[in-house]
Amino acid sequence: MSYHPSMIGLDGLAALIEALSVDGFRVLGPTVRDDAIVYDDIAGVDDLPAGWTDEQDGGRYRLKRRDDSALFGYAVGPHAWKRFLHPPLLRLWRAEPDSAGMKLTAAPEPEERFAFLGVRSCELHAIAIQDKVFLQGPYVDPHYKARREGAFLVAVNCGTAGGTCFCASMNTGPRATAGFDLTLTEFTGEFLVEPGSDAGAALLARLPQRAATEADIERARAVSERTAASMGRHMQADGVHDLLLDNLEHKRWDDVAARCLSCGNCTQVCPTCFCTAVSDVNDLSGATERTRRWDSCFSVDFSYIHGGSVRPSPRSRYRQWMTHKLASWVDQFGTSGCVGCGRCITWCPVGIDITEEVRAIRGG
Protein backbone atom coordinates (compact mmCIF):
# COMPACT_ATOMS: atom_id res chain seq x y z
CA MET A 1 0.00 0.00 0.00
CA SER A 2 1.16 3.54 -0.50
CA TYR A 3 1.52 6.04 2.31
CA HIS A 4 1.39 9.82 2.34
CA PRO A 5 4.47 11.80 3.20
CA SER A 6 4.33 14.77 5.57
CA MET A 7 6.54 17.58 6.74
CA ILE A 8 7.44 17.91 10.42
CA GLY A 9 9.53 20.45 12.29
CA LEU A 10 11.81 20.02 15.29
CA ASP A 11 8.71 19.86 17.47
CA GLY A 12 7.53 16.95 15.32
CA LEU A 13 10.83 15.17 15.78
CA ALA A 14 10.64 15.73 19.53
CA ALA A 15 7.10 14.34 19.46
CA LEU A 16 8.34 11.33 17.49
CA ILE A 17 10.95 10.47 20.13
CA GLU A 18 8.40 11.08 22.86
CA ALA A 19 5.75 8.90 21.18
CA LEU A 20 8.22 6.06 20.74
CA SER A 21 9.14 6.07 24.39
CA VAL A 22 5.51 6.38 25.44
CA ASP A 23 4.86 3.29 23.32
CA GLY A 24 7.48 1.48 25.36
CA PHE A 25 10.39 1.52 22.95
CA ARG A 26 13.97 1.95 24.05
CA VAL A 27 14.96 4.76 21.70
CA LEU A 28 18.52 4.53 20.40
CA GLY A 29 20.11 7.05 18.12
CA PRO A 30 23.18 9.10 17.31
CA THR A 31 24.89 11.12 20.00
CA VAL A 32 28.33 12.61 20.54
CA ARG A 33 30.68 10.72 22.82
CA ASP A 34 34.47 10.36 22.86
CA ASP A 35 34.94 12.63 19.85
CA ALA A 36 32.68 10.53 17.69
CA ILE A 37 29.03 10.05 16.79
CA VAL A 38 27.98 6.80 18.43
CA TYR A 39 24.64 5.05 18.94
CA ASP A 40 23.22 5.22 22.43
CA ASP A 41 20.02 5.89 24.37
CA ILE A 42 18.27 9.05 23.25
CA ALA A 43 15.96 10.91 25.61
CA GLY A 44 15.13 13.79 23.28
CA VAL A 45 16.25 16.00 20.42
CA ASP A 46 18.94 17.57 22.64
CA ASP A 47 20.86 14.30 22.68
CA LEU A 48 21.26 14.33 18.91
CA PRO A 49 24.55 15.58 17.36
CA ALA A 50 23.29 19.01 16.28
CA GLY A 51 25.85 20.81 14.15
CA TRP A 52 28.35 17.96 14.14
CA THR A 53 29.78 16.01 11.27
CA ASP A 54 32.61 13.58 10.68
CA GLU A 55 35.65 13.60 8.43
CA GLN A 56 36.57 10.09 7.43
CA ASP A 57 39.39 8.52 5.51
CA GLY A 58 41.39 5.29 5.67
CA GLY A 59 42.28 4.78 9.36
CA ARG A 60 41.11 8.26 10.22
CA TYR A 61 37.99 9.72 11.86
CA ARG A 62 37.58 13.29 13.10
CA LEU A 63 34.52 14.87 14.64
CA LYS A 64 34.01 18.32 13.09
CA ARG A 65 31.68 21.27 13.47
CA ARG A 66 29.31 21.99 10.62
CA ASP A 67 28.37 25.52 9.71
CA ASP A 68 24.71 24.73 10.34
CA SER A 69 22.85 22.89 13.07
CA ALA A 70 21.83 19.79 11.12
CA LEU A 71 20.97 16.87 13.38
CA PHE A 72 21.90 14.13 10.92
CA GLY A 73 24.68 15.88 9.03
CA TYR A 74 27.22 13.08 9.38
CA ALA A 75 27.76 9.65 7.84
CA VAL A 76 27.97 6.42 9.84
CA GLY A 77 30.26 6.19 12.87
CA PRO A 78 32.09 3.45 14.76
CA HIS A 79 28.96 1.70 15.99
CA ALA A 80 26.57 -0.38 13.92
CA TRP A 81 23.05 -1.32 15.00
CA LYS A 82 24.21 -4.91 15.20
CA ARG A 83 25.56 -4.24 18.67
CA PHE A 84 21.92 -4.13 19.81
CA LEU A 85 20.45 -6.83 17.57
CA HIS A 86 23.44 -9.16 17.78
CA PRO A 87 25.25 -8.14 20.99
CA PRO A 88 29.02 -8.56 21.36
CA LEU A 89 28.58 -10.86 24.34
CA LEU A 90 25.60 -13.05 25.12
CA ARG A 91 25.17 -15.45 27.99
CA LEU A 92 23.14 -18.32 26.56
CA TRP A 93 22.57 -20.66 29.48
CA ARG A 94 23.90 -21.88 32.75
CA ALA A 95 23.90 -25.45 34.03
CA GLU A 96 24.20 -26.17 37.72
CA PRO A 97 24.49 -29.50 39.44
CA ASP A 98 21.49 -30.30 41.63
CA SER A 99 19.97 -33.32 43.34
CA ALA A 100 18.35 -34.52 40.10
CA GLY A 101 21.64 -34.25 38.22
CA MET A 102 21.75 -30.96 36.45
CA LYS A 103 19.57 -27.89 36.23
CA LEU A 104 19.73 -25.92 33.03
CA THR A 105 18.64 -22.28 32.98
CA ALA A 106 18.45 -20.42 29.69
CA ALA A 107 19.32 -16.74 29.91
CA PRO A 108 16.11 -14.76 29.45
CA GLU A 109 15.74 -12.78 26.24
CA PRO A 110 15.28 -9.04 26.80
CA GLU A 111 11.72 -7.81 26.82
CA GLU A 112 12.56 -4.32 25.60
CA ARG A 113 11.75 -3.33 22.04
CA PHE A 114 14.20 -1.14 20.20
CA ALA A 115 13.46 1.96 18.20
CA PHE A 116 16.43 2.99 16.08
CA LEU A 117 16.57 6.61 15.05
CA GLY A 118 18.76 7.69 12.15
CA VAL A 119 19.30 4.38 10.35
CA ARG A 120 21.07 4.98 7.04
CA SER A 121 20.22 3.22 3.83
CA CYS A 122 23.41 1.15 3.93
CA GLU A 123 22.46 0.10 7.44
CA LEU A 124 18.95 -0.93 6.40
CA HIS A 125 20.59 -3.17 3.81
CA ALA A 126 22.96 -4.51 6.45
CA ILE A 127 20.06 -5.31 8.77
CA ALA A 128 18.26 -7.03 5.87
CA ILE A 129 21.41 -9.12 5.31
CA GLN A 130 21.63 -10.11 8.96
CA ASP A 131 17.91 -10.92 8.86
CA LYS A 132 18.74 -13.41 6.11
CA VAL A 133 21.62 -14.86 8.06
CA PHE A 134 19.80 -15.22 11.36
CA LEU A 135 16.14 -15.61 10.50
CA GLN A 136 15.95 -17.50 7.22
CA GLY A 137 16.43 -21.17 6.60
CA PRO A 138 15.81 -23.99 9.02
CA TYR A 139 17.95 -22.62 11.85
CA VAL A 140 16.49 -19.42 13.21
CA ASP A 141 18.59 -17.63 15.78
CA PRO A 142 16.24 -17.02 18.72
CA HIS A 143 18.45 -14.33 20.27
CA TYR A 144 18.52 -12.19 17.16
CA LYS A 145 14.85 -12.84 16.58
CA ALA A 146 13.89 -11.67 20.07
CA ARG A 147 15.71 -8.39 19.54
CA ARG A 148 14.78 -7.82 15.92
CA GLU A 149 11.06 -8.54 16.15
CA GLY A 150 9.05 -5.51 17.02
CA ALA A 151 11.96 -3.13 16.41
CA PHE A 152 10.92 0.22 14.98
CA LEU A 153 13.24 1.69 12.38
CA VAL A 154 13.40 5.39 11.63
CA ALA A 155 15.67 5.84 8.64
CA VAL A 156 17.40 9.01 7.50
CA ASN A 157 18.27 9.71 3.89
CA CYS A 158 21.87 10.82 3.97
CA GLY A 159 22.44 14.48 3.24
CA THR A 160 26.20 14.05 3.36
CA ALA A 161 28.25 11.09 2.18
CA GLY A 162 31.25 10.25 4.32
CA GLY A 163 34.81 10.13 3.04
CA THR A 164 34.76 6.34 2.97
CA CYS A 165 31.15 5.78 1.85
CA PHE A 166 30.45 3.85 -1.37
CA CYS A 167 26.82 2.76 -1.12
CA ALA A 168 26.13 4.18 -4.58
CA SER A 169 28.53 1.55 -5.99
CA MET A 170 26.82 -1.25 -4.10
CA ASN A 171 23.25 -0.18 -4.89
CA THR A 172 22.53 0.16 -1.20
CA GLY A 173 21.99 3.91 -0.87
CA PRO A 174 22.09 6.71 -0.13
CA ARG A 175 18.28 6.79 -0.38
CA ALA A 176 16.35 4.41 1.85
CA THR A 177 14.02 2.31 -0.25
CA ALA A 178 12.78 -0.49 2.00
CA GLY A 179 12.95 -1.99 5.44
CA PHE A 180 12.00 1.06 7.51
CA ASP A 181 8.91 2.24 9.37
CA LEU A 182 9.57 5.91 8.74
CA THR A 183 12.21 7.69 6.77
CA LEU A 184 13.35 11.27 7.28
CA THR A 185 15.02 13.63 4.88
CA GLU A 186 16.47 16.60 6.69
CA PHE A 187 16.21 20.21 5.52
CA THR A 188 17.14 23.07 7.82
CA GLY A 189 14.86 22.66 10.82
CA GLU A 190 12.37 20.56 8.85
CA PHE A 191 12.00 16.96 7.77
CA LEU A 192 10.15 15.19 5.02
CA VAL A 193 8.74 12.05 6.65
CA GLU A 194 7.79 9.08 4.50
CA PRO A 195 6.15 6.05 6.12
CA GLY A 196 7.24 2.59 5.03
CA SER A 197 4.90 0.49 7.15
CA ASP A 198 1.50 0.65 8.81
CA ALA A 199 3.17 1.13 12.17
CA GLY A 200 5.13 4.04 10.72
CA ALA A 201 2.04 5.63 9.18
CA ALA A 202 0.14 5.28 12.47
CA LEU A 203 2.92 6.91 14.41
CA LEU A 204 3.27 9.72 11.90
CA ALA A 205 -0.43 10.47 12.28
CA ARG A 206 0.21 11.36 15.94
CA LEU A 207 2.83 14.03 15.18
CA PRO A 208 2.33 17.75 14.56
CA GLN A 209 2.75 18.10 10.77
CA ARG A 210 1.70 19.56 7.49
CA ALA A 211 1.06 17.70 4.24
CA ALA A 212 4.12 17.44 2.02
CA THR A 213 3.97 19.15 -1.36
CA GLU A 214 5.42 17.95 -4.66
CA ALA A 215 8.14 20.53 -4.14
CA ASP A 216 9.07 19.02 -0.73
CA ILE A 217 9.32 15.58 -2.28
CA GLU A 218 11.38 16.95 -5.15
CA ARG A 219 13.70 18.67 -2.70
CA ALA A 220 14.24 15.39 -0.85
CA ARG A 221 15.08 13.56 -4.08
CA ALA A 222 17.61 16.27 -4.85
CA VAL A 223 19.28 15.73 -1.46
CA SER A 224 19.77 12.04 -2.23
CA GLU A 225 21.06 12.77 -5.72
CA ARG A 226 23.58 15.24 -4.37
CA THR A 227 24.74 12.73 -1.79
CA ALA A 228 25.01 9.96 -4.39
CA ALA A 229 27.23 12.23 -6.44
CA SER A 230 29.59 12.93 -3.56
CA MET A 231 30.60 9.43 -2.44
CA GLY A 232 34.02 9.35 -0.81
CA ARG A 233 34.84 5.99 -2.36
CA HIS A 234 33.86 3.97 -5.39
CA MET A 235 33.97 0.25 -6.00
CA GLN A 236 33.48 -1.32 -9.39
CA ALA A 237 31.27 -4.11 -8.10
CA ASP A 238 30.20 -5.84 -11.30
CA GLY A 239 31.95 -9.14 -11.80
CA VAL A 240 33.76 -8.84 -8.47
CA HIS A 241 32.58 -12.32 -7.47
CA ASP A 242 34.46 -14.04 -10.30
CA LEU A 243 37.28 -11.55 -10.21
CA LEU A 244 38.22 -12.51 -6.66
CA LEU A 245 37.61 -16.22 -6.93
CA ASP A 246 39.66 -16.35 -10.13
CA ASN A 247 42.55 -14.58 -8.43
CA LEU A 248 43.11 -16.51 -5.22
CA GLU A 249 46.86 -16.53 -5.81
CA HIS A 250 47.14 -12.89 -6.88
CA LYS A 251 50.28 -11.17 -5.61
CA ARG A 252 48.14 -8.43 -4.10
CA TRP A 253 47.22 -10.78 -1.25
CA ASP A 254 50.88 -10.75 -0.20
CA ASP A 255 50.96 -7.01 -0.43
CA VAL A 256 47.88 -6.52 1.75
CA ALA A 257 49.10 -9.18 4.19
CA ALA A 258 52.25 -7.13 4.76
CA ARG A 259 50.08 -4.19 5.83
CA CYS A 260 47.27 -6.04 7.63
CA LEU A 261 47.60 -6.26 11.42
CA SER A 262 45.08 -9.12 11.60
CA CYS A 263 43.58 -7.08 14.43
CA GLY A 264 39.99 -7.85 13.47
CA ASN A 265 38.71 -4.27 13.67
CA CYS A 266 37.20 -4.42 10.18
CA THR A 267 35.03 -7.39 11.09
CA GLN A 268 33.93 -5.96 14.42
CA VAL A 269 32.74 -2.68 12.89
CA CYS A 270 31.20 -4.25 9.79
CA PRO A 271 27.40 -4.14 10.06
CA THR A 272 27.00 -7.46 8.25
CA CYS A 273 29.77 -9.55 9.87
CA PHE A 274 28.05 -12.00 12.16
CA CYS A 275 30.61 -14.57 13.29
CA THR A 276 30.79 -15.63 16.89
CA ALA A 277 32.69 -17.98 19.15
CA VAL A 278 30.60 -20.13 21.44
CA SER A 279 32.29 -21.37 24.57
CA ASP A 280 31.32 -23.48 27.53
CA VAL A 281 33.18 -22.49 30.63
CA ASN A 282 32.83 -24.29 33.91
CA ASP A 283 33.65 -22.79 37.27
CA LEU A 284 34.84 -24.22 40.55
CA SER A 285 31.32 -24.78 41.88
CA GLY A 286 30.69 -27.30 39.10
CA ALA A 287 28.43 -24.97 37.14
CA THR A 288 28.90 -24.40 33.44
CA GLU A 289 28.02 -21.35 31.45
CA ARG A 290 27.70 -21.11 27.69
CA THR A 291 28.47 -17.75 26.18
CA ARG A 292 28.64 -16.41 22.69
CA ARG A 293 30.84 -13.50 21.72
CA TRP A 294 31.76 -11.76 18.51
CA ASP A 295 34.68 -13.47 16.89
CA SER A 296 36.54 -12.71 13.72
CA CYS A 297 38.01 -14.59 10.77
CA PHE A 298 41.16 -12.61 11.58
CA SER A 299 41.87 -14.62 14.71
CA VAL A 300 43.85 -17.84 14.45
CA ASP A 301 41.51 -19.87 16.65
CA PHE A 302 38.56 -18.97 14.46
CA SER A 303 39.51 -21.64 11.94
CA TYR A 304 40.95 -24.05 14.48
CA ILE A 305 40.02 -27.65 13.82
CA HIS A 306 41.63 -30.87 14.91
CA GLY A 307 45.31 -30.53 14.17
CA GLY A 308 45.54 -26.76 13.95
CA SER A 309 44.27 -23.62 12.30
CA VAL A 310 43.15 -23.73 8.70
CA ARG A 311 44.24 -20.14 8.16
CA PRO A 312 47.47 -19.61 10.05
CA SER A 313 48.77 -16.75 7.88
CA PRO A 314 47.36 -13.21 7.88
CA ARG A 315 47.36 -13.49 4.08
CA SER A 316 44.89 -16.35 4.18
CA ARG A 317 42.80 -14.55 6.77
CA TYR A 318 42.53 -11.29 4.86
CA ARG A 319 41.72 -13.22 1.70
CA GLN A 320 39.06 -15.19 3.55
CA TRP A 321 37.47 -11.99 4.81
CA MET A 322 37.40 -10.17 1.51
CA THR A 323 36.41 -13.10 -0.67
CA HIS A 324 33.62 -13.91 1.78
CA LYS A 325 32.33 -10.34 1.87
CA LEU A 326 32.31 -9.84 -1.87
CA ALA A 327 32.10 -13.30 -3.43
CA SER A 328 31.21 -16.41 -1.45
CA TRP A 329 28.60 -14.42 0.50
CA VAL A 330 26.68 -14.14 -2.76
CA ASP A 331 26.74 -17.93 -3.17
CA GLN A 332 25.72 -18.39 0.44
CA PHE A 333 23.03 -15.74 0.93
CA GLY A 334 22.21 -14.39 -2.52
CA THR A 335 23.53 -10.88 -1.82
CA SER A 336 26.89 -9.24 -1.40
CA GLY A 337 28.12 -9.13 2.18
CA CYS A 338 29.21 -5.54 1.69
CA VAL A 339 26.84 -2.58 1.78
CA GLY A 340 29.49 0.07 1.17
CA CYS A 341 29.26 1.77 4.57
CA GLY A 342 33.02 2.34 4.65
CA ARG A 343 33.47 1.43 8.32
CA CYS A 344 36.13 -1.20 7.63
CA ILE A 345 38.18 1.47 5.83
CA THR A 346 37.81 4.19 8.45
CA TRP A 347 38.31 1.95 11.49
CA CYS A 348 41.18 -0.12 10.14
CA PRO A 349 44.14 1.18 12.13
CA VAL A 350 46.30 1.10 8.99
CA GLY A 351 43.60 2.25 6.60
CA ILE A 352 43.33 -0.84 4.41
CA ASP A 353 40.69 0.00 1.84
CA ILE A 354 38.50 -2.74 0.39
CA THR A 355 37.73 -0.60 -2.67
CA GLU A 356 41.43 -0.10 -3.28
CA GLU A 357 42.15 -3.82 -2.90
CA VAL A 358 39.49 -4.66 -5.48
CA ARG A 359 40.93 -2.05 -7.81
CA ALA A 360 44.42 -3.49 -7.42
CA ILE A 361 43.28 -7.00 -8.21
CA ARG A 362 41.28 -5.75 -11.18
CA GLY A 363 44.37 -3.92 -12.33
CA GLY A 364 46.17 -7.17 -13.13
Binding site: R33, D34, D35, A36, V38, G59, R60, Y61, R62, L63, G77, P78, H79, R83, P88, L89, A258, R259, C260, L261, S262, C263, G264, N265, Q268, V269, A277, S279, V281, N282, D283, L284, S285, R293, W294, D295, S296, F298, S299, V300, D301, P312, S313, P314, T346, W347, P349, V350
Partner: protein
Protein backbone atom coordinates in the same frame (compact mmCIF):
# COMPACT_ATOMS: atom_id res chain seq x y z
CA UNK B 1 34.29 -46.05 53.77
CA UNK B 2 36.32 -44.64 50.92
CA UNK B 3 38.42 -41.62 51.69
CA UNK B 4 37.19 -38.41 50.02
CA UNK B 5 39.37 -37.60 47.00
CA UNK B 6 42.44 -35.64 47.90
CA UNK B 7 42.24 -31.99 46.94
CA UNK B 8 44.88 -30.85 44.46
CA UNK B 9 47.76 -29.04 46.11
CA UNK B 10 48.39 -25.51 44.90
CA UNK B 11 51.68 -23.65 45.38
CA UNK B 12 52.45 -20.06 44.48
CA UNK B 13 56.11 -19.19 43.91
CA UNK B 14 57.77 -15.85 43.63
CA UNK B 15 60.86 -14.96 41.62
CA UNK B 16 61.96 -11.47 40.56
CA UNK B 17 58.68 -9.56 40.50
CA UNK B 18 56.57 -6.99 42.30
CA UNK B 19 53.99 -9.43 43.82
CA UNK B 20 51.19 -7.78 41.85
CA UNK B 21 50.23 -10.97 40.04
CA UNK B 22 50.07 -13.09 43.19
CA UNK B 23 47.96 -10.41 44.75
CA UNK B 24 45.49 -10.86 41.89
CA UNK B 25 44.73 -14.22 43.41
CA UNK B 26 43.97 -12.65 46.78
CA UNK B 27 42.03 -9.99 44.92
CA UNK B 28 39.64 -12.68 43.69
CA UNK B 29 37.67 -11.97 46.89
CA UNK B 30 34.31 -13.58 46.07
CA UNK B 31 35.84 -16.37 44.08
CA UNK B 32 38.72 -16.95 46.48
CA UNK B 33 36.58 -19.09 48.75
CA UNK B 34 35.74 -21.34 45.84
CA UNK B 35 39.42 -21.59 44.99
CA UNK B 36 40.31 -22.28 48.59
CA UNK B 37 37.60 -24.92 48.67
CA UNK B 38 38.77 -26.64 45.52
CA UNK B 39 42.46 -26.84 46.31
CA UNK B 40 44.73 -27.24 49.23
CA UNK B 41 46.90 -24.16 49.43
CA UNK B 42 50.23 -25.79 50.11
CA UNK B 43 52.61 -22.94 49.64
CA UNK B 44 51.62 -19.29 49.30
CA UNK B 45 53.71 -17.07 51.60
CA UNK B 46 51.79 -13.98 50.53
CA UNK B 47 48.62 -15.49 52.02
CA UNK B 48 49.59 -18.00 54.68
CA UNK B 49 52.60 -19.08 56.68
CA UNK B 50 51.62 -22.71 56.59
CA UNK B 51 53.86 -24.74 54.31
CA UNK B 52 53.01 -28.19 53.03
CA UNK B 53 55.62 -30.43 51.52
CA UNK B 54 55.65 -31.10 47.77
CA UNK B 55 54.99 -32.45 45.28
CA UNK B 56 52.38 -29.95 44.15
CA UNK B 57 49.64 -30.51 41.60
CA UNK B 58 49.67 -26.95 40.33
CA UNK B 59 52.40 -24.38 40.77
CA UNK B 60 51.78 -20.78 39.87
CA UNK B 61 55.09 -19.08 39.22
CA UNK B 62 55.46 -15.33 39.32
CA UNK B 63 58.59 -13.42 38.39
CA UNK B 64 61.67 -13.85 36.23
CA UNK B 65 65.05 -15.37 36.95
CA UNK B 66 67.72 -12.80 37.85
CA UNK B 67 70.03 -14.66 40.22
CA UNK B 68 71.89 -17.95 40.16
CA UNK B 69 70.15 -18.92 43.37
CA UNK B 70 66.74 -18.42 41.74
CA UNK B 71 67.78 -20.42 38.70
CA UNK B 72 68.53 -23.36 40.96
CA UNK B 73 65.42 -22.87 43.09
CA UNK B 74 63.32 -22.91 39.91
CA UNK B 75 64.65 -26.34 38.94
CA UNK B 76 63.50 -27.62 42.30
CA UNK B 77 60.07 -25.99 41.88
CA UNK B 78 59.70 -27.69 38.52
CA UNK B 79 60.73 -31.04 39.99
CA UNK B 80 58.07 -30.68 42.67
CA UNK B 81 55.26 -29.56 40.32
CA UNK B 82 52.98 -31.65 38.20
CA UNK B 83 51.75 -28.58 36.32
CA UNK B 84 53.66 -25.33 36.19
CA UNK B 85 51.82 -22.19 35.14
CA UNK B 86 53.63 -18.88 34.83
CA UNK B 87 51.64 -15.82 35.79
CA UNK B 88 52.39 -12.38 34.42
CA UNK B 89 54.79 -10.54 32.18
CA UNK B 90 57.89 -11.09 34.38
CA UNK B 91 57.56 -14.86 34.39
CA UNK B 92 56.54 -14.99 30.76
CA UNK B 93 58.67 -12.29 29.11
CA UNK B 94 61.31 -11.16 31.67
CA UNK B 95 59.40 -8.11 32.97
CA UNK B 96 60.68 -4.57 33.41
CA UNK B 97 63.84 -5.99 34.95
CA UNK B 98 64.44 -7.52 31.51
CA UNK B 99 65.59 -4.07 30.40
CA UNK B 100 68.95 -4.95 31.92
CA UNK B 101 69.44 -7.45 29.09
CA UNK B 102 70.11 -4.58 26.74
CA UNK B 103 72.59 -2.80 29.05
CA UNK B 104 75.42 -3.54 31.43
CA UNK B 105 73.86 -4.46 34.76
CA UNK B 106 77.07 -3.74 36.68
CA UNK B 107 76.85 -0.15 35.59
CA UNK B 108 73.39 0.06 37.11
CA UNK B 109 74.38 -1.50 40.41
CA UNK B 110 77.35 0.82 40.72
CA UNK B 111 75.08 3.83 40.33
CA UNK B 112 72.22 2.61 42.50
CA UNK B 113 73.87 0.88 45.47
CA UNK B 114 76.31 2.24 48.00
CA UNK B 115 78.00 -1.16 48.12
CA UNK B 116 77.55 -2.78 44.73
CA UNK B 117 79.96 -5.51 45.77
CA UNK B 118 77.16 -7.00 47.92
CA UNK B 119 74.89 -7.39 44.90
CA UNK B 120 74.99 -10.81 43.38
CA UNK B 121 72.94 -10.86 40.24
CA UNK B 122 72.89 -12.33 36.76
CA UNK B 123 73.61 -10.27 33.66
CA UNK B 124 70.12 -10.93 32.41
CA UNK B 125 66.54 -11.38 33.49
CA UNK B 126 65.02 -14.40 31.82
CA UNK B 127 61.53 -15.86 31.54
CA UNK B 128 60.73 -19.07 33.38
CA UNK B 129 60.48 -20.95 30.08
CA UNK B 130 64.18 -20.29 29.43
CA UNK B 131 64.98 -22.59 32.35
CA UNK B 132 62.26 -25.18 32.68
CA UNK B 133 59.33 -26.57 30.79
CA UNK B 134 56.17 -24.51 31.32
CA UNK B 135 52.65 -25.92 30.96
CA UNK B 136 50.87 -22.64 30.47
CA UNK B 137 51.85 -18.96 30.30
CA UNK B 138 49.30 -16.45 31.54
CA UNK B 139 50.00 -12.96 30.22
CA UNK B 140 49.70 -9.49 31.66
CA UNK B 141 51.26 -6.86 33.88
CA UNK B 142 49.50 -7.55 36.08
CA UNK B 143 47.46 -10.59 35.07
CA UNK B 144 43.70 -10.29 34.93
CA UNK B 145 42.09 -12.03 37.89
CA UNK B 146 39.27 -13.48 35.81
CA UNK B 147 41.80 -15.01 33.47
CA UNK B 148 43.68 -16.44 36.44
CA UNK B 149 40.51 -18.04 37.73
CA UNK B 150 39.79 -19.35 34.26
CA UNK B 151 43.23 -20.94 33.95
CA UNK B 152 43.02 -22.46 37.43
CA UNK B 153 39.54 -23.79 36.76
CA UNK B 154 40.61 -25.18 33.41
CA UNK B 155 43.57 -27.02 34.92
CA UNK B 156 41.53 -28.32 37.82
CA UNK B 157 38.93 -29.60 35.37
CA UNK B 158 41.47 -30.92 32.91
CA UNK B 159 40.37 -28.73 30.02
CA UNK B 160 41.95 -26.13 27.79
CA UNK B 161 41.83 -22.57 29.17
CA UNK B 162 39.54 -20.26 27.26
CA UNK B 163 42.03 -17.43 26.79
CA UNK B 164 41.90 -15.83 23.32
CA UNK B 165 45.22 -14.77 21.75
CA UNK B 166 43.74 -12.18 19.40
CA UNK B 167 44.28 -8.42 19.59
CA UNK B 168 43.14 -6.01 22.30
CA UNK B 169 41.10 -4.32 19.53
CA UNK B 170 38.57 -7.14 19.61
CA UNK B 171 37.89 -6.43 23.29
CA UNK B 172 37.87 -2.71 22.61
CA UNK B 173 35.17 -3.10 19.97
CA UNK B 174 33.11 -5.38 22.18
CA UNK B 175 33.06 -2.62 24.79
CA UNK B 176 31.99 -0.08 22.20
CA UNK B 177 35.03 2.13 22.80
CA UNK B 178 35.75 4.59 20.00
CA UNK B 179 39.23 3.74 18.71
CA UNK B 180 41.75 6.24 20.14
CA UNK B 181 44.18 5.64 17.31
CA UNK B 182 41.70 6.28 14.50
CA UNK B 183 40.24 9.36 16.15
CA UNK B 184 43.72 10.73 16.75
CA UNK B 185 43.60 10.78 20.55
CA UNK B 186 46.57 8.51 21.30
CA UNK B 187 49.14 6.09 19.92
CA UNK B 188 47.90 2.60 20.73
CA UNK B 189 49.59 -0.80 20.78
CA UNK B 190 46.25 -2.62 20.88
CA UNK B 191 46.49 -4.01 17.33
CA UNK B 192 49.68 -5.93 18.15
CA UNK B 193 48.90 -6.75 21.78
CA UNK B 194 47.43 -9.95 23.23
CA UNK B 195 43.94 -9.48 24.64
CA UNK B 196 43.13 -10.16 28.27
CA UNK B 197 42.79 -6.88 30.10
CA UNK B 198 39.40 -6.08 28.59
CA UNK B 199 40.82 -3.06 26.71
CA UNK B 200 40.96 -0.83 29.77
CA UNK B 201 43.27 1.94 28.59
CA UNK B 202 41.45 2.96 25.38
CA UNK B 203 38.25 3.18 27.44
CA UNK B 204 40.04 5.88 29.45
CA UNK B 205 41.34 7.75 26.42
CA UNK B 206 44.80 6.17 26.52
CA UNK B 207 46.57 4.01 24.04
CA UNK B 208 47.26 0.39 24.97
CA UNK B 209 50.69 0.00 26.61
CA UNK B 210 51.19 -3.60 25.55
CA UNK B 211 51.00 -5.12 29.05
CA UNK B 212 49.93 -8.52 27.76
CA UNK B 213 52.75 -8.79 25.24
CA UNK B 214 52.46 -9.66 21.56
CA UNK B 215 49.27 -11.16 20.19
CA UNK B 216 49.27 -14.11 17.80
CA UNK B 217 50.82 -13.15 14.41
CA UNK B 218 51.69 -9.58 15.42
CA UNK B 219 52.68 -7.05 12.74
CA UNK B 220 54.42 -4.23 14.56
CA UNK B 221 56.24 -3.07 11.44
CA UNK B 222 53.00 -2.09 9.75
CA UNK B 223 51.69 -0.32 12.84
CA UNK B 224 54.77 1.89 13.29
CA UNK B 225 53.84 4.69 10.83
CA UNK B 226 50.45 5.01 12.50
CA UNK B 227 52.08 5.45 15.90
CA UNK B 228 54.07 8.29 14.36
CA UNK B 229 50.87 9.83 12.97
CA UNK B 230 49.51 9.70 16.52
CA UNK B 231 52.45 11.77 17.73
CA UNK B 232 55.14 9.28 18.68
CA UNK B 233 58.72 10.20 17.80
CA UNK B 234 61.39 7.82 16.55
CA UNK B 235 62.87 7.14 20.00
CA UNK B 236 59.38 6.41 21.22
CA UNK B 237 58.83 3.82 18.50
CA UNK B 238 61.56 1.64 19.94
CA UNK B 239 60.98 2.44 23.59
CA UNK B 240 57.29 1.77 23.56
CA UNK B 241 58.07 -1.94 23.21
CA UNK B 242 60.68 -1.89 25.99
CA UNK B 243 58.36 -2.10 28.93
CA UNK B 244 56.90 -5.15 30.65
CA UNK B 245 57.58 -7.69 27.92
CA UNK B 246 60.95 -6.56 26.55
CA UNK B 247 62.20 -10.00 25.53
CA UNK B 248 58.96 -11.16 23.89
CA UNK B 249 60.09 -11.90 20.37
CA UNK B 250 57.94 -9.51 18.33
CA UNK B 251 58.36 -6.63 20.78
CA UNK B 252 62.11 -7.15 21.04
CA UNK B 253 62.56 -7.24 17.27
CA UNK B 254 60.50 -4.11 16.76
CA UNK B 255 62.39 -2.16 19.42
CA UNK B 256 65.68 -3.25 17.87
CA UNK B 257 64.47 -2.23 14.42
CA UNK B 258 64.25 1.30 15.76
CA UNK B 259 67.74 1.13 17.20
CA UNK B 260 66.67 0.98 20.85
Amino acid sequence: MAKPPRKPKLAVWKFASCDGCQLSLLDCEDELLAVAGAVEIAYFPEATRAVLKGPYDISLVEGSVTTQHDAERLLEVRRQSRRLITIGACATAAGIQGLRNFKDVREFTSVVYAHPEFIETLETSTPISTHVEVDYELRGCPIDKHQLLEVLTAFLNGRRPNIPAHSVCVECKARGTVCVLVRGAAACLGPVTHAGCGAICPAYNRGCYGCFGPKETPNAVSLAPRLVDAGMDKTGLGRVYRTFNPVADAFKKESERHGT
